[in-house]
């Protein structure tokens, strides 16, 4: 999807999430969605560009929340670091607005940060910042209504999580309401690196591929390029979060994280 040449420079270009990912998948490419916590360091937007340049198909940007119940120690730490550094939804969205990374941006945050300004206002703010999609992991299908209505109205594609604990009937309903892609939860647990790939990763990918034609992107606990390659023998793609954030917490520069993303890209392309 080419950027629209008529758009004024100040208005961010917003790429369709599902359309972009479908086009890549249909061209035979495995999808790579790296994650970065917004505001984790002053130059965090450089990381978004570095990830895009290294072969990301979309970038997931965390807006840090004080009580992230779906996140393990690594993303808890980057969230605390970002909040301590003054990051807020408005500061992160303001920085995203000028970024023009060339790939769709998906915001991940927790519902209180949406509920506080209101569903409508938050959706409008995401759209104005050029964000294409949103993941709100503490809002399951039964509670998604008010947010989904506001998001749909502003063209924000709301990605739902699909977990191994769901029945086939529930997976079908989750897939039907998900937009952009469906986020397969690879294991029973919160975000964080794991030494080995959970057996449930393959199973959830298979179940989702039967349930939907949406791009199936699996995340949570995918830690190495080899694990990513294994998952994408079934799934359409992977989300990589804690493994990258660990590198950052260890003090690496954006280029090093870019190289890490490139290594995942290489592994996925090798297949």
């Amino acid at each position: 999807m080419a950027p629209d040449a008529d758009v004024a420079p100040a208005a961010p270009v917003r790429l369709g999430l599902e359309s972009t990912l479908r086009a890549a998948r249909d061209a035979g490419r495995k999808l790579l969605v790296p994650y970065v916590t917004g505001g984790v360091r002053d130059d965090w937007t450089e990381l978004v560009r570095a990830m895009a340049d290294a072969g990301a198909d979309a970038v997931e940007i965390g807006i840090p929340f004080s009580d992230p119940v779906m996140d393990g120690p690594t993303i808890q730490a980057t969230s605390e670091q970002a909040i301590a550094g003054g990051a807020s939804p408005s500061s992160i969205l303001a920085e995203l607005r000028g970024i023009d990374a060339g790939v769709p941006l998906v915001v991940m945050t927790y519902y209180n940060l949406v509920y506080h300004p209101g569903d409508e206002r938050f959706a409008a703010d995401l759209a104005a910042a050029g964000v294409s999609g949103a993941i709100v992991p503490d809002v399951p299908l039964e509670e998604i209504g008010p947010w989904a209505a506001a998001a749909d109205a502003h063209g924000i594609e709301t990605v739902l999580l699909a977990a191994p604990t769901a029945s086939d009937e529930r997976l079908a309903r989750v897939c039907a309401r998900s937009r952009g892609f469906v986020y397969g939860v690879s294991l029973l647990g919160v975000t964080g690196e794991r030494a080995t790939l959970a057996g449930t990763a393959d199973a959830i990918a298979r179940r989702l591929k039967v349930a939907t034609d949406l791009p199936v992107v699996v995340g949570i606990g995918i830690s190495t390029p080899e694990q990513a390659r294994q998952v994408t023998t079934v799934a359409d793609g992977v989300v990589i979060g804690s493994a990258l954030m660990r590198t950052l917490l260890d003090g690496a520069a954006p280029e090093a994280v870019g190289e890490q993303v490139a290594a995942f890209r290489t592994a996925l392309d090798r297949g």
Binding site: V69, Y115, D138, E142, P164, A166, L188
Partner: protein, 388 residues
């Protein structure tokens, strides 16, 4: 106080805001509780256990000297006399029976002051279940005795080391743990908060306090109380005692929050820990850290049914300072020979402050726990006054 229905709503509050992984577990718990609660066998087993093991019914005690001093009739519902020293055992025995009925073999819990952790560790020992309790690192330091009690009972106590390192963070860690171990583990949530069905489930298991107190007050005084009061952190003892009186319009219901954790008093609606409720938060929606002398009330949110009772005006919520609480803590000891936990000392602090307004009235107070756990902390604060 009715059934919040399949969506778990108390007016505008409640709901089930949990990661997708936990939705089937919450649904299964709700279905199991609906089934058990209409099963006479389950109800009988629970009430026998509460009587023979828990020590119910707890007594209703009419204060003599303190009533005279305050110029009102003060009735104490003595939950402090229960096994393990607080009202927490009512909820935990019910949830442990339910967990066993569901085929779960492990319990995970959060705890603030440690009373719910001790009660959960106790039930786990009783039923031969595994037990992991998350407790804020700050709370572990100020409630060392309860940490040791849990370990003596065979539980593993894990520190919550992020955020404010208090009750809020222990809930986060317990939820995270449950996401990973949902197959064989029941999350034994300690207060009337969290995702549906917990606020309702815990209220139903704690309503025994209110049901007993209503009958006991009528037996003792041949009338109903004018005011029913209880401390509110998450609000389980308060919702339990309020349940017995909410249908009596002449009975005033007063929840008492710590000034540094007054979710109803200072909070605005928000969503955390699986529910919509009043929540102390900053101007962008980050949850604020509560500050209270009492680890059990050091919580920035409140159970959703309290939020509803406050919004509809059926109950009102007052806040007291740590200094007022310490005075009330001593007052009950000096006048009645009862050392209360710091949590119910909040309710007494409000009664003491409002004594003129309450003159001549019958005030029923839920004495939710005993003060043994708090003696070391209070000695540090007031030791000089007592020559320690």
């Amino acid at each position: 106080m009715g059934d919040p229905g399949p969506t778990g709503r108390f007016g505008d509050f409640g709901g089930r805001f949990v990661p997708e992984t936990l939705v089937p577990a919450c649904e299964a718990l709700e279905a199991a509780f609906r089934d058990a609660w209409t099963d006479d066998g389950f109800r009988t087993e629970l009430s026998d256990l509460l009587r023979d093991y828990g020590g119910r019914p707890s007594s209703l005690y009419r204060c003599g000297r303190l009533s005279d001093e305050l110029g009102l009739t003060l009735l104490l519902k003595r939950e402090d006399l229960n096994h393990t020293g607080s009202h927490k055992i009512n909820n935990v025995l019910g949830q442990a029976l339910l967990a066993r009925r569901m085929g779960k073999t492990k319990l995970v819990a959060e705890t603030g002051a440690g009373q719910h952790g001790v009660a959960t560790a106790t039930a786990a020992a009783l039923f031969g279940m595994g037990c992991i309790v998350f407790m804020g690192e700050v709370d572990m330091a100020r409630q060392e005795l309860n940490v040791f009690r849990m370990r003596l009972l065979g539980a593993e106590v894990r520190p919550a080391v992020t955020g404010s390192r208090t009750l809020k963070d222990a809930v986060n860690d317990a939820l995270r743990y449950w996401v990973g171990e949902v197959g064989d583990t029941h999350y034994c949530l300690g207060s009337a908060l969290g995702p549906h069905p917990y606020p309702w489930l815990v209220r139903e298991l704690q309503r025994v306090i209110g049901d007993e107190a209503r009958e006991q007050t009528r037996s003792l005084l041949d009338r109903d109380p004018d005011v029913v009061t209880a401390c509110v952190g998450g609000g389980s003892n308060a919702i339990g005692i309020f349940s017995g009186f909410v249908d009596l319009p002449g009975v005033e219901l007063v929840g008492v929050e710590p000034a540094g954790g007054a979710a109803v008093g200072h909070g605005v609606p928000g969503v955390v820990h699986g529910m919509t409720s009043y929540l102390m938060q900053d101007d962008i929606g980050q949850v604020q850290e509560a500050q209270s002398i009492s680890a059990g009330l050091d919580y920035p949110g409140v159970g959703p049914e309290h939020a509803h009772l406050a919004r509809t005006g059926r109950a009102r919520y007052e806040a007291v300072t740590d200094a007022e609480v310490l005075e009330a803590f001593q007052l009950l000891g000096h006048t009645e020979g009862i050392i209360p936990a710091l949590e119910p000392a909040h309710a007494l602090a409000w009664v003491s402050r409002a004594r003129r307004h309450l003159a001549g009235k019958v005030v029923l107070l839920c004495l939710s726990g005993r003060g043994d756990k708090d003696v070391a902390q209070v000695a540090e604060l007031l030791g000089d006054r007592y020559g320690a």
